[in-house]
């Protein structure tokens, strides 16, 4: 058990330093922009620490349902998140091969693949850019 500040609190402290202390002192607009990008990257890391494991679980279950009869699907619920990520990677590669081969061109499988791909992208944006996600979904997408 580590002392406080927690990893989240440390990240927040660095982001605050970049945004409020460093960026205003930089006269080179390029460096200033990079300081703001750096702060934004830390916000992504912070959201991933908070939501990442749960979203990985969700994606793994969804992929298993989608690819259940695919040899790449390894049904081992409750494995540690790191293994889940590896399994997601293997199953997603298999899915991509099937899409490119035209196996998801139509029928129910197409709809299921489309829904899965869309949900996965939404979950990535919940971490990478929730503001953008909200704006675009609001737009009727």
């Amino acid at each position: 058990m580590q002392d406080r500040p927690s990893s989240q609190e440390l990240i927040a402290a660095v982001a605050q330093f970049l945004n409020r202390e460093l960026a205003p002192t930089l006269s080179d607009p390029r460096q200033k922009f990079r300081a703001l990008v750096a702060a934004n990257v830390l916000a992504i890391v912070s959201r991933e620490l908070k939501l990442g494991d749960e979203l990985t679980q969700t994606e793994w279950h969804r992929l298993n349902a989608l690819m259940g009869d695919d040899p790449s699907a390894m049904l081992r619920a409750g494995a540690p998140a790191e293994n889940l990520a590896q399994e997601i990677d293997v199953m997603t590669r298999a899915l991509c091969v099937r899409i490119r081969a035209g196996e998801a061109d139509d029928s129910e499988f197409h709809d299921a693949v489309f829904a899965h791909a869309r949900q996965t992208v939404i979950e990535k944006l919940q971490i990478a850019n929730p503001k953008y996600l909200e704006r675009v979904l609001h737009d009727g997408r």
Binding site: D28, F33, A38, I44, R100, G102, A117, K124, A128, N129
Partner: protein, 376 residues
Amino acid sequence: MSVSPIELELVLQEKLRALTQSEVRVENLQILAGGASQEMWRLDLHVAANEPDGDYKLVLRRQLGGKIYRDALDVWREFHVMQVAYASNVAVPYPQAFLPDLLGRPAALVHFHPGETIGRRLVREPAFENARKKLPGQMGEMLARIHQIDFVKHALLNELPHPPPRTERSPQRSLPAQENETRARNESESLAVRAFVPYQTPAQWILAQLENNLDEIGEPHPALELGIRWLRLHEPAPPEKLALIHGDYRIGNVIVNADGLVKVLDWEFAHIGDPYEDLAWSQVRDWRFGSDHLRFGGVSQPDEFFDAYGTAMNLQVDRARVHYWEVMGNARWAVGMLNQAQRHLRGEEPNLEFASLGRRCAEVELEILGLIKGVG
């Protein structure tokens, strides 16, 4: 990583002294927000031998490590395309000089023009209200000038990326026979045999590049694969004529002042292809800079842009084709973002902005799914 201004100034002075055979002074060297594959500097040059007209306001573009797309032009070929465009009455900064080796990398000097290039400012700031009214018409008319450049006459066909002959692995459609013959006839004589070889269509050519590129990156992206698959299944008839494509024609890559369009920049993605590629690129959501409801670059609805282009080209812009190429543009940009992240990850060009683009790919993937949902 960029070089130090002091070092650059000294070396640049030395090179330009040799080139102009005159005393020269390089001043006010200042780094600018860069392009995708190049580092950009603003500078003033004084050439003693040319007095009283020896003062030049210039921009230096210097090659960076790695490229966003394999087919991106190096600085020399981009310089040559700008020369051709300049000679063809396209509003492009005058390409002043090419330096084959500036601190180990090629570089080009072009004229500087005051004005705004930052997309976010152009779509928002009240100062550009008049410019926003004029840009769609001006950019449509200017794009027609680019597409009317005789790329064969200017010997650009062999210099620029273009759809290759069909191979066993690229079946389906080919270009119209007449087009193939014209193209082959005008290529160098040693390639005349190509008159009988069908060419890949521009769309198939780009899709094959995107698939290969994705395989090289090695990350699975189902949403992007769905987009590419949709593009494979919905390809329109091939274009009647190929054109010189700018390849990055949008708000953000043009200099704008209160009266609208000043100059067209960033020619590093120029190639030979389908004119609709350029027509659709400015509609891609990421190039609307947050003003999403205005489909032409966050500036306006696209009607005036298409009308101006259509009038100048004497044709009617086909909206279904624009939609197809808008999906293509998004797919290409999604892969471009992954490539930029790879350039950082592979250590070719360590850069925080490039790294962060890897996490922005999902934005474009969501857009692709939205565009292809329920269409065709």
